[in-house]
């Protein structure tokens, strides 16, 4: 099967054409750097996405979080549901793990900002 994907490794957005049969790549062209080649191989066989979303915290602004690395693309809905259902106790520090091994992916979910009640409200 012929597949065309856009490399997202950098803003170049190279168009990569490939021939894929039963999950293996027969031929591939269009990438212009090694990172593109790595990306295309993965995207065509085992696509992953890092997730960024919010966890609601009672009485505070929502906590922005991310998966520490990519999770299988097919597992995004399941992971989102688990992340949204997670409970966090404040205060939270940037980089703190708020959910371990989300949906058995082996990937942790970490906070991307501090929430203590006030986020840098100090004045100098």
């Amino acid at each position: 099967m012929k597949r065309e994907i856009t490399c997202i490794g950098c803003p170049m957005g190279c168009l990569i054409s490939a021939e894929v049969e039963n999950g293996s790549i027969l031929s591939m062209s269009g990438y212009t750097c090694p990172r593109g080649e790595i990306y295309a191989k993965q995207e065509l066989t085992t696509p992953e996405r890092a997730i960024t979303t919010l966890i609601r915290c009672a009485g505070a602004t929502p906590l922005s979080v991310k998966t520490a690395s990519g999770v299988p693309k097919a597992k995004i809905p399941e992971c989102l549901a688990a992340i949204h259902a997670a409970k966090v106790t404040l205060p939270v520090k940037e980089g703190q793990v708020v959910l371990h091994n989300v949906c058995g992916t082996g990937v942790d979910v970490v906070a991307t900002r501090d929430i203590s009640g006030s986020w840098l409200m100090v004045s100098g």
């Binding site: 170049m12 996405r49 919010l54 609601r56 004045s123």
Partner: protein, 420 residues
């Protein structure tokens, strides 16, 4: 009223303002003040919870809040003074800055140098001329982003997005994650102005259709939005009758571009460029007003914050040099003009003795495949670069080497064009 003398005043505490303050401090300029109208430092990045920031500067992919926090941290470590919740109201051509805040009331500053780092704002609905009723449920995409990501409020459940700029694309995914249904992203032009990566990861991944060469031709609803009509447009960008598609939606997000926020630059007497809507600057980010520098999205709308930080660093260094009395010479040696296919070249002016490559940035006016970028000096092509694609969604950076610019005391013309 008490006037405060100081060395360097920075207007705006977003990535640009902070990235200017840090090298200025490190260059020995210690009498700095950053003024920020929001309650926090960090600028627009605080609401950009997605990742994709920092690959160039930090060699890792960060989310907006994380990227902003790194600069906030560097600012705090240096004890660079800042004042939040403070709105700058006016900058006079003699650099007198008037600001107001609930805590300090009206304040007047007389800095030796000013860095403009006010960022940009979204093109409002009025500027778009969208027809139909004036019901609720219509938001600028960035406003919706702020509501969802910082205030935890969902604007609606069934959504159509007009404009395929990055903020619209990012919001399509964000709203999907929050349980809303995004029916379509509608783009007037035959191409998206958003980054490829965002089209792939925000729309394609979730099966959200991107309707190119389409626009919203009617808006229905009395109090709350009930639906929109979308039509195909011809090459003249006029709707084609008979192509109407009806969407039942309660929310319409507008993502139709950003405009640099330059009201203050105007009062300061800074000349603005028609193509970028930002100040005309030289390669040192110096405006036509002595001691006033500009960087970040107030200068031209960037798509990568890393470029903002890099540009701001130069502005900060130059502002510190100006304060120290070691500013570079501002004698004009070249004027920079947009050629075919090139829009909004920054900088517009090249000044002084050019010893280092001059970084020129612009947006392609259209999509060009297998094209060549040419740099011309006084009408002669001096450098060329081939690329498989140039698109308006992706800013182009090119270097002009000093050897191509005759150092003969005359003012030369530099231009760039894209040829197919």
């Amino acid at each position: 009223m008490m006037e405060r003398q100081l060395d360097l005043l920075i207007v705006g505490g977003g990535p640009a303002g902070l990235a200017a303050a840090i090298p200025a401090h490190d260059a020995g300029c210690r009498d700095i003040l950053i003024l920020e109208r929001e309650q926090h430092l960090g600028g627009i990045l605080r609401q950009c919870i997605h990742s994709g920031f920092g690959l160039h500067i930090f060699k890792e992919e960060l989310t907006g809040p994380e990227y902003a926090q790194r600069y906030v941290q560097m600012t705090l470590e240096r004890n660079i003074p800042y004042q939040c919740d403070t709105m700058v109201l006016d900058i006079a051509p003699d650099r007198t800055v008037t600001a107001t805040s609930p805590v300090h009331g009206v304040q007047v500053f007389r800095p030796k140098a000013v860095v403009l780092a006010m960022g940009c704002r979204e093109r409002p609905r009025g500027a778009l001329g969208t027809p139909g009723t004036r019901c609720s449920g219509i938001y600028c995409a960035g406003t919706a982003q702020r509501l969802v990501n910082l205030e935890g409020f969902m604007p609606g459940k069934r959504i159509v997005i007009l404009g395929s700029g990055d903020i619209g694309l990012i919001m399509a995914r964000r709203m999907t994650f929050e349980g809303a249904k995004v029916l379509a992203v509608v783009e007037l032009m035959p191409y998206s102005s958003g980054l490829k990566r965002n089209i792939v990861q925000c729309l394609d991944d979730y099966g959200i259709p991107l309707l190119l060469s389409h626009t919203v031709t009617d808006i229905r609803g009395r109090e709350r939005l009930e639906g929109v009509t979308v039509s195909k447009v011809g090459p003249d960008r006029k709707p084609i009758p008979g192509t109407e598609i009806q969407y039942d939606c309660d929310t319409l997000l507008l993502s139709c571009g950003l405009i640099p926020e330059n009201e203050l630059s105007k009062t300061a007497g800074v000349t603005l460029d028609r193509a970028t809507a930002g100040p005309v600057v030289d390669q040192h980010l110096c405006t036509n007003v002595s001691g006033v520098f500009a960087c970040g999205n107030v200068l031209h709308v960037h798509d990568l914050v890393d470029n903002v930080s890099e540009e701001a660093e130069e502005a900060g260094k130059q502002a510190a040099a100006y304060v120290a009395g070691t500013a570079s010479d501002v004698r004009l040696v070249a004027e920079v003009e947009d050629g075919e296919g090139v829009r909004g070249l920054v900088p517009r002016r090249i000044t002084g003795t050019v010893t280092a490559p001059v970084k020129l940035m612009f947006r392609p006016a259209n999509v060009y495949k297998d094209a060549q970028l040419e740099t011309l000096v006084d009408g002669e092509v001096v450098a060329t670069r081939k690329a498989r694609i140039f698109t308006p969604g992706e800013m182009v950076t090119a270097l002009l080497l000093p050897k191509f610019l005759p150092q003969d005391g005359k003012c030369h013309k530099v231009s760039m064009r894209i040829v197919q």
